[in-house]
Symmetry: none
C-alpha cells in the first residue's frame, strides 16, 4: 500500500521541510526553535532528529530544496521559450509571480543564513555560478543572432540576475512592472546610441 512503507517517511520529511521554511523565513535561524518547527509539523521534537541530524542541517536541506525547486521552475519555464528575449521575459515574469505567490520567499534573500557551513556556501555559489552561466549562454545566443550587442556575457548575466532584486522588499513586487524593467534592461537609460569604438 502507498501508506505502508517509505511513503509515510517522505511525507513527514516534507512536512518538516515545509514547517522549517515557514519558521526560518519568518524568524531567521537563531530565533527559530526546533520545538516550533516540530509543533507546526504536528510532530514531536525528537522526531525532527529522525529525519535531520541537526538544526543547521535542517536549514541547509530546506534552503537547498527551496532553491532547487524555484530554480528548476524558472529553468523549466524558460526552456519552453526559444528566443533569448522571450526567455528573459519569462524569467522575470516567473520570478515576480513566484514572489507574489509566496512572499516568504523574499525572506530567503533577506535573512542571511550565511553561517551555514562552507560546504553549503560552496554548493550555493556553484548553483549561482551555474545559473549565471545558464543566463550567460542565453546572452551569447542573443549576441550571435545580433539581437544583443557584443557585451561581456558574464557581466550581462550578473546584471540581469542583480536586477531581479527590484521585485524584493523594500521595493515590493507590486511597484514595478516586468515590462518596464525589461525595457530599461534591453534599451538602457540613454537616448543616444552607444559609442562606436
Amino acid at each position: 500500500m502507498s501508506t505502508g512503507g517509505g511513503y509515510g517517511d517522505a511525507d513527514k520529511r516534507q512536512k518538516i521541510l515545509d514547517s522549517a521554511f515557514a519558521v526560518f523565513t519568518k524568524k531567521g535561524y537563531q530565533q527559530t526553535k526546533v520545538d516550533e518547527v516540530a509543533q507546526l509539523a504536528g510532530i514531536g521534537k525528537g522526531t525532527v532528529y529522525l529525519y535531520f541530524p541537526s538544526k543547521e542541517e535542517l536549514l541547509r536541506e530546506m534552503l537547498k530544496a527551496m532553491i532547487k525547486k524555484n530554480l528548476s521552475e524558472l529553468k523549466k519555464r524558460m526552456s519552453e521559450e526559444e528566443h533569448p528575449l522571450a526567455k528573459l521575459k519569462v524569467m522575470y515574469a516567473t520570478h515576480a509571480s513566484l514572489l507574489q505567490e509566496n512572499p516568504s520567499l523574499a525572506q530567503l534573500h533577506i535573512h542571511d543564513f550565511a553561517f551555514v557551513n562552507e560546504a553549503f556556501r560552496a554548493w550555493l555559489e556553484q548553483e549561482k555560478a551555474d545559473f549565471m552561466a545558464y543566463i550567460a549562454r542565453i546572452v551569447e545566443a542573443g549576441i550571435k543572432t545580433e539581437e544583443f550587442r557584443p557585451v561581456n556575457p558574464n557581466l550581462a548575466a550578473a546584471l540581469i540576475i542583480s536586477c531581479l532584486s527590484v521585485f524584493l522588499p523594500p521595493y515590493g513586487s507590486d511597484t514595478f512592472s516586468v515590462d518596464d524593467v525589461l525595457d530599461i534592461l534591453h534599451y538602457g537609460l540613454c537616448q543616444s546610441l552607444p559609442p562606436r569604438p
Copy 2:
C-alpha cells in the same frame, strides 16, 4: 594631557566602533563575543558598556556609522560632478573602490543582522529611500536634458542601485569593470532601438 583634552572619550568610542566593525563583519552577530571586541580595542570588557548599553546597540551604532560614512562619501563625490552620466560613473567607481579598499564592507551586505530592531529597520529603509530618491532625481535631470530616455525614474534608480551588487561577492570586485557595467546600463543589451509607441 594626552592629545587634545576631552578627546579621549570620542577616540575610545570610535576605537570600539572600529573593533566592532572588524569583528561583526568577520564573524556575524552571534559569533561575536563582546570580550573579543574589547580586546581588539585594547580595553576591558566592562568599558564597552560605558559607551554602549548592549551588544545589540553596539551593532546598530556600528552599522549606522558605516552606512552613514559610506553614503556620505558616495554623495560627496557625486556632488562634485554636474552631469548625470558623470554622477553615475563616479558613484559606481566610488562604490567599487570603497569595496576594494575595505573588503569587509561586503560582509555588511551578506551578514544577517536581521534582529536589528524596528527602529533601526525604519531608519535603514528611510536611508535607502532617501538614496533612491537622490538617484531618481539625477535620472529625472537626465531625462529633462534628453540624455536619458523617458523611463520611470524610481525604477531606474532601483535598477541602478541593484546593479551595484555586481561588485559584491561572489562576483568579486575584480571581475567586472565599471565602464563595462555602465555601458550596459546606459545602452542596454539590445542592438535594436526601443519600440516606438
Copy 3:
C-alpha cells in the same frame, strides 16, 4: 513505572522545593546558586527551569510552601483543642517543636528575602493578617467565657505572635520552656492585680 504513574512530576517538583529550602535557608538568596539546588536534588540545572520559571519564583514558591505547611500544621493541631488556653498552649508547643525538628526553619525568619515581589509581599501580609485574626478570635472567645480579661483582641493576638520569637535564635529553642512562656503571657509580670478603672 516508578512508584505510581504521573507522580514523577510532583515528586520531582517537591524534591526541588526541598533542595531549595535547604540551600536558601543555609545561604540566603544571593549566595544560593541554581546549580547547587539542582545538584542537591540530583538533577540537571536545566530541569529546575522546567518546573520554575526563575530562581526568584523558586524562592517564592518554596517560601509559600513552607509557610502554608507550617501554618496549616499549627492550625490543625490548634483546632483539635477547644479551650482558648489549650489552643494557645498547643500553638506554642507546636511552634517550638517544629523549630526543634527543623532548625533551618528559623533561617526563614532571619534571611532577607526582601526582593520578593509585591505580589508575594501582599500574599504574605494577608497570611499574617489571617493568622492574627484567627488568634484574635480565640482571644475573643476567651474574653467571652471570662477566662481572659477584656483586652484588645488584636493587640493580644499581635503580642501572642510576637512572643513566639523567643524560640528563635539567638535565644534558641532549648532555653525557655513553653510553660514558662505561657505563664508570663497568661498572668503577666506583676504581682499586683490590674488597676480597676
Copy 4:
C-alpha cells in the same frame, strides 16, 4: 581652624553614614549601589573608599552606629527612671516614638543584613545579650521589690524585647498604644490568678 584638619573628615564620614542608612534601609544590601550612596552624600564614588574599606564594612559601620545610637538613647532615658515599671514604660514609649520619628528604622529589623560577617553577627548578638541582661536586671529588681512575680528574668527580658515588635510593620506604630501593651505585659491575659504551686 575648625575647618582645617579633622573636622571636615568627621563631617563627611557622618554624611556618608547618613546616606548609607537612607539607601540601605530603603533598598536592602544587594540593591544598594555604592554610587547611589555617594551621590546622596554629594561626593564622588571613590571618596567613599577613603572612609570605608568596602561596601560591607560601610553597612556594618552604619548598623553599629544606628544600633548604638538607639540603644544608648533607650538606656539613657530608662536610666532617668528609677522604678522598674517606669523603666519599662519609658522603654516602650521611647521605642515607639523613635520608630514614629524615623520610620526607616523599622527597615533595619525587616531587612536581614544577616550576611554581614561573623564578627558583626557576634557583636550584634553581644549587644542583644547585653541589652537583654540589662532588662533582666530590671526584672530582677522588680522581683526583689515584689512588684513582679518570681519569673525567670531572662525569659521575661526576652518576652519584653519581643513584644517591642508590635510597633513594627505590618502592625504599624499607630495601631496599638503603649499603655495597652504594658497592660497586657504586666497583668497577662487571664482573669484568674496564677496557679499556686
